[in-house]
Amino acid sequence: MQDILRFITCGSVDDGKSTLIGRMLYDRKMIFDDQVAELEVSSKKFGTTGENIDFALLVDGLAAEREQGITIDVAYRYFNTEKRKFIVADTPGHIQYTRNMATAASTADLAVILVDARQGILSQTKRHSYVVSMLGVKNVIIAINKMDLVDYSKDAFSKICEDYAKFSNALNFSTIEVVPVSALNGDNICSASSHMSWYKGESLLGYLETAEISTGEQKKQAFRMPVQMVSRPNLDFRGFAGTISSGDVAVGQNIVALPSGKASKIKSIVTYKNELQSASSGQAVTLTLEDEIDISRGDLISCEEDQCSIADLFRTKILWMSEQKMIAGRQYLFKSAVSEQVCTLEKPKYLIDIENLQHIAADNLNLNDIGVCELHLNHKCAYERYENNRNLGSFILIDRHTNQTVGMGMIEHSMRRSLNVQEQYISITRNQRSEQKSQTPCVVWMTGLSGAGKSTIADTLEQRLFGDDYHTIILDGDNVRHGLNKDLGFTEQDRAENIRRISEVSKLMMDAGLIVIVSFISPFRSERELAKDIIGQDSFIEVYIDTPLELAEERDVKGLYKKARAGEIPNFTGIGSPYENPENPDVRIQTATCNPDTAAGIILKYMRENKFTVR
């Protein structure tokens, strides 16, 4: 029986990762003749090794990579020996491509970390070692390459071994093998080198063939399966399809669905034209249950004893993968094996300084930063700690507007707050309070540039509503900043917090039964969406006060544009910081062509037509 070892090669730029893989494939005759012929041609054209074959060109397949002689993205290669099958991912060494390297490391069983014998341990060696360790890879092989360029010196080798041992003490590896090699000449790659008789260990391939594949941890665990889809081909069949994350499942076993906690029993385990009595971790199956309980995509089926935990607040470790820095308080999409939902991140507790593994304070995460952050979910979901279960403890973060994957993270543990702070039951409900006032509470959210006319329109609107006996309140940006939010500035992060607080206050006032008029620049779409999520979509009326920048600047009632143009106010919306137009506002007021009274009339009409008001 053959198993598969997934491994990566990593390390700093020019340590010879691609060459190493190319050499290994070539020496073991795992490259076809027509590929060798093509390689010889390419080596002449793009090669960086003079007359010799440039093995790196076997794996650097993108045109840009061949032209620049570097690796940009991960290349996957497949080969086998008599002992086992291998999937190797050759990862880029440049710091800006760390995200690609981490992608490959996340599924690896083992990492080969290359070190240039002349250079010793570089900061990329440390960065990659840290990422590999953080992602839970337990076995590493340090390949000290280019030994031919240091005269195959034992001393040079020993010195690097010592340096690496000092650094790696703090990392979480179970085995570290060190091999001196020359990828260019093939020393100690597939067989022992005649140039280094002082070395008594295995060749690189020898270690790869015998390394332990550590999947055992997930087998011993309790049964968990995230539901990927509900299968309903006909009225008589209702199955839950998914890939088993951990543990075993058998017909007749008691289970619970999470987060609902509803219990049932396994009726059958269905696979293609075949029913199983039991199944285990890694298998893609379809389960049917004895009872009709409500389960959908995003739920987890867990064994009844030793249930999976659920929570909505976590301490996480995140690798940021986007040029756009992380903004604390902004909403991102959270996707794990179980759940896809909105989350917000707190300001990082700290970043990790890769050089010395010290913690450093930071306000946000930039590209390739690794930091520890608290993460809040909107709804509870099932999870495991990453160190116990890679599958249920990992997640990615997605930007809601660009749809790019901006971060990858690991759950360290859930936070107590989500368990201990429970919502207190209150007898009088929002409905009862609003019935007493004979009105439907809602939030009229006015967004637009400074000087667009928001406050004036808000004031007119409130007077009209008040005149019709409605109970109202205005929350004005400037006024709130004098009081509740006077500790906040104008960085993106503070703006997000500003919006969060104002949204929570609006919600409380709605609970009190009031119609809330918010007049706030709120320039970012993501922040307005945060407000909408907190307040509730059905109660949220987005009003875009649309005034061209030139007009607002010309009015400049408060003299702020003048100051901003003079550079006295950094981050001023429209000048130093962007305003993102609402794409589909509920109401759009073009102030260039209407006065405040007409504007209030348009909003009142919308409220009447949508049954917020009756009078």
Partner: protein, 300 residues
Amino acid sequence: MKKNKHLDVLENEAIHIFREAEEQSDNPVMLYSIGKDSSVLLHLALKAFYPALPPFPMLHVDTTWKFKGMIAFRDAKAKECGVELVVHVNQEGVDQNIGPITHGSEVHTDIMKTQGLKQALDKYGYDLAFGGARRDEEKSRAKERVFSFRDKKHGWDPKNQRPEPWSLYNTRKNKGESVRVFPMSNWTELNVWEYIEREKIDIVPLYLAKERPVVEREGMLLMVDDERLDIQDNETVEVKKVRFRTLGCYPLTGAVESDATDVESILSEIRTSKTSERSGRAIDKDSNASMEKKKREGYF
């Protein structure tokens, strides 16, 4: 079960990808090119959604130059498995009489295959297409993600691919974007044949050695599938025992001489082979890094 553990790993991974992609697409389709990889892909799709049928049609972009044996197999297979078959031909190309012999492989493939595929995807509004491509096929494929995004014009930007850690796939599309999904990314040619043997999957008989009329042209053995091959005076048609390692347009697909008449002997042939399966394809040799270029332009 225990004997081929690596095949189980690959199968489970593919099923997971199928389910994940289908759940998040409004209008998915499965590309079906009739070859061995498509046969495996179809088999995996049937497994992934069983007891339901795969909830998407299969699309064949017909260049009108496929082997006759492929078309017969396609129609029979679609009927047998019950999955809807959509066939698209680039009519503009047909009207202009585009063909591999008259126009060369590059023009023919671009118009009949690449443009034809784009037309079909746009015509039916498919937002997600499953394909049987594998990373071991070719160098730029080795760099491609499982979920691979294409812009409005179906172009691929290899330098700006989404990171894909663990088995968490970001399936969200921007307006106008579509997705190619490759459930068999981590399979090799050998795995495909091992799986065909284990699961007893039907394949086009052209993969198996048989006496066939062939002619040697530009170093390739071409099968005389119909009169359009246009035999030259200095060429002779010979009958040889040949088979094909990949299948495509017959004037662009080289045969190899072989005695492998069943899957078992194909397997032992591949295990000792010295050339890659793509060596028989004219299309990869057009220019250096040619596959990447084609994909940037919208080739699947």
